[in-house]
């Protein structure tokens, strides 16, 4: 068995920006990014830089004991910003637990995301506010939810004509990774979506590593090729190229909205950091591999493109850095100021309707806790 890291085969990969930041034309996908001007490119850079700065701050907060855990995304910014910026407000997103960059594109407030990792909430934000679902910690469990949601969308949009679908139609994006690609629920979600031709885009960030297990243990073929087995298109895109990711995701979403069914996108990227703050990549991968991927850093690539084409000046990059630091300060302040939850609150959301056992146990809990207050006072006066 080989231990080599899976290398993307360049010819099969959709790429619009080379690692050197040069724009490459593509007969099929150029048309999907015709509207992207310098300001929008700078916007993507800013999104990616802010996401990386947030990631850095959250990692620091974890190291300082302020978060139970953090899930870094460094290296995956282009895959997330490119795909997230391809969505429309009425599309619905089912993330894994690493989609901090997609969250930014959906206007989820960064500090809110830390409620999960600070042990305050298992949800964190209101998914309906931005059509960005809660993080799902059980790998791939969100995948059939995405297909089911898309099946609901189909019923809501029954009878819509092509024009209305294109204008107001909803598509669903299901994020997953190379690690969770082996879960049975990925398979079932794709079978159901194919059978019912549901408007869902399966977006896989292949970051090469499932914690310590390399991609070649998960799959013997590029994941995009699996789509053929389900009967819908699969496409491999350079996941560190924000333009290419944007283009293919727009293509897939438009197709889904038109009623042409699901697409599987494999965004080939690299997890430049650890799986989580509890992980130690030095135990399982070579620093040479990490260094090789440094050259493909998605932020550097866009930075080169912006600079080489005089699309952004030093003032811009400095301002992004300043904005990032300000955002990080706010994230830190707000995260540390979150009020602690109470166990009594946890009783409230187990059921929607009145439940005798919940009522009985809550009553007992409150009386028990109240009893401690008395004991403390008595102890103090004794």
């Amino acid at each position: 068995m080989t231990n080599t890291v899976h290398e993307p085969s360049e010819q099969a990969l959709i790429q619009l920006l080379t690692p050197e930041g040069e724009r490459r034309s593509h007969a099929e996908y150029d048309s999907y990014i015709q509207d992207i001007d310098a300001e929008m490119l700078r916007g993507f850079y800013r999104d990616m830089a802010l996401t990386r700065r947030f990631d850095q701050e959250a990692t620091a907060l974890q190291r300082q004991g302020q978060l139970a855990l953090w899930v870094p995304l460094r290296g995956q910014e282009a895959a997330q910003i490119g795909s997230g910026r391809a969505t429309r407000p009425n599309d619905y997103i089912f993330p894994t637990y690493r989609e901090h960059g997609v969250a930014l594109t959906r206007n989820v407030d960064f500090p809110q995301m830390l409620r999960i990792f600070r042990g305050i909430s298992n949800g964190g934000w209101d998914p309906r506010e931005n059509n960005f679902h809660m993080y799902t910690m059980v790998l791939a469990a969100q995948m059939p939810h995405a297909t089911g949601y898309a099946m609901g969308v189909q019923r809501d949009q029954a009878g819509w004509d092509a024009e209305r679908l294109e204008k107001d139609g909803t598509a669903v994006v299901a994020y997953f990774g190379d690690g969770s690609s082996t879960e049975g629920e990925v398979h079932e979600s794709m079978v159901f979506a194919a059978s019912f031709n549901s408007p869902v885009v399966f977006f896989c960030q292949n970051n090469q590593w499932a914690i310590s297990v390399p991609f070649h243990v998960q799959s013997k073929v590029p994941l995009a090729e699996r789509a053929a087995g389900y009967g819908f298109p699969g496409i491999r895109v350079d996941g560190n190229d924000v333009l290419a990711v944007l283009a293919v995701t727009r293509w897939a979403l438009e197709r889904a909205r038109r009623g042409e069914g699901p697409v599987l996108i494999e965004a080939v990227t690299y997890r430049m950091s650890a799986h989580t703050t509890a992980d130690d990549p030095t135990k399982y991968r070579m620093s040479a591999d990490e260094e090789a991927w440094l050259e493909r850093d998605p932020l550097l690539r866009l930075e080169k493109h912006l600079k080489d084409n005089q699309l952004a000046d030093e003032v811009f990059f400095k301002q992004v850095a300043v904005d990032g630091d300000e955002m990080a300060t706010r994230v830190r302040e707000e995260a540390l100021a979150f009020p602690d939850p109470s166990l009594a609150q946890s009783f409230a959301n187990v059921y929607a309707e009145a439940h005798p056992l919940i009522q009985e146990e809550l009553k007992w809990h409150l009386e028990y806790e109240a009893g401690f207050a008395d004991t403390t006072e008595e102890g103090a006066t004794r």
Binding site: G123, R128, A141, G148, A150, G184, F192
Partner: protein
């Protein structure tokens, strides 16, 4: 009053029909539930009335059925999913316990996933492996789920509608060996609240608590006990989670003796939970320990010996004898 005689299966069909007619967001999904009408024909004919968009013949995959049901519920639909047989629910166990049960808690009460999961359950039908199980305790242990098990046609007609109307996820265990049990269904006067137990036979000397397929067994045992001069009260639990402990406690305070019987294995079962609660609530009323009559701690046995495995009238009477002899 509009009363019709129906089998328990047809009562569920009629209940589902009423749900689909009254709630445009409701829909059915499962394996073979459309054209075939389900392997037990419980959904027979509904696809003709409501179409394939609302009576969905799904691909074969239980995690997919429950997972997509959760997704449709998040979108605002009220899916009623069918799992073909009790022993086939386990591929969906992850979706039910980590996702369905916890959606409301995880969203901090913002939304839940009001999915109903219908499962034909229990033994006594002479079937092959995995077709005769009673896995209710596995789900009762998971907070966030509600569990119902009707025992008669009238309850089945109304309880499936109450399950569909409930904003919490409900697992609806259908006693498959009683599918052909006929009963009077009053389609105008609703059955009691599905989460309330019902005293279906009053008595003074002992109480039998049961649910689902063993209700007729408990009633027959009570009738047999009457010939021995014992007045036995029978309670049909109806809801397995939550359990209506108030009704049970009230009965035990009167009778002093309690037998709990279910097909599921005794160990770690619903009977143990009831015994513990009754010991806490009515210890001084008890004349004898609570006795459980359930399945043995083994995989559900082969059909040729299942009669020896299942609780029956004689086993319940033997338990009553032990209780009175204490």
């Amino acid at each position: 009053m509009s009363t019709t005689t129906m089998t328990l299966a047809k009562a569920i069909t009629a209940g589902l029909d009423a749900v689909l007619a009254n709630d445009p967001k409701s829909l059915l999904i499962g394996e073979d539930i459309g054209r075939l009408g389900g392997v037990y024909r419980v959904t027979d004919g509904l696809i003709d009335t409501y179409g394939a968009d609302r009576v969905i013949d799904s691909p074969l995959g239980e995690a997919g059925i429950i997972g997509t049901s959760i997704g449709m519920a998040i979108r605002g639909y009220s899916p009623i999913a069918e799992i073909q047989f009790d022993g086939f629910v386990f591929p969906a166990f992850n979706q039910i316990t980590t996702q369905l049960a916890k959606m409301r808690a995880r969203s901090e009460g913002r939304f839940g996933a009001p999915v109903v999961i219908r499962i034909p359950y229990g033994g006594g039908i002479g079937s092959i492996e995995h077709h005769s199980e009673s896995p209710e305790a596995l789900f009762a242990h998971t907070a966030g789920l509600r569990i119902m098990a009707p025992s008669n046609a009238h309850d089945a007609y109304w309880m499936i509608q109450q399950a569909a109307a409930c904003q919490d996820p409900v697992i609806f265990f259908e006693p498959k060996r009683r599918y052909w049990l006929k009963g009077e269904v009053d389609t105008e006067n609703p059955a009691a609240d599905a989460f309330k137990a019902q005293v279906i036979r009053p008595g003074e000397d002992a109480t039998i608590v049961t649910y689902g397929p063993l209700v007729p067994v408990a009633l027959a045992a009570a009738e047999a006990a009457r010939e021995d001069g014992r007045s036995v009260e029978v309670i049909d639990l109806r809801s397995v989670s939550p359990i209506d402990f108030d009704t049970i406690t009230e009965s035990v305070e009167k009778t002093g003796r309690l037998i709990v019987t279910h097909e599921a294995p005794t160990f770690g079962g619903i009977g143990g939970e009831i015994a513990a609660r009754v010991a806490e609530r009515a210890f001084l009323s008890l004349e004898a320990p609570v006795i459980r009559v359930g399945g043995f701690h083994m995989p559900y046995p082969v059909a040729k010996v299942e009669e020896q495995y299942l609780p029956d009238i004689d086993k319940v009477l033997e338990a009553l004898d032990r209780s009175f002899a204490y």
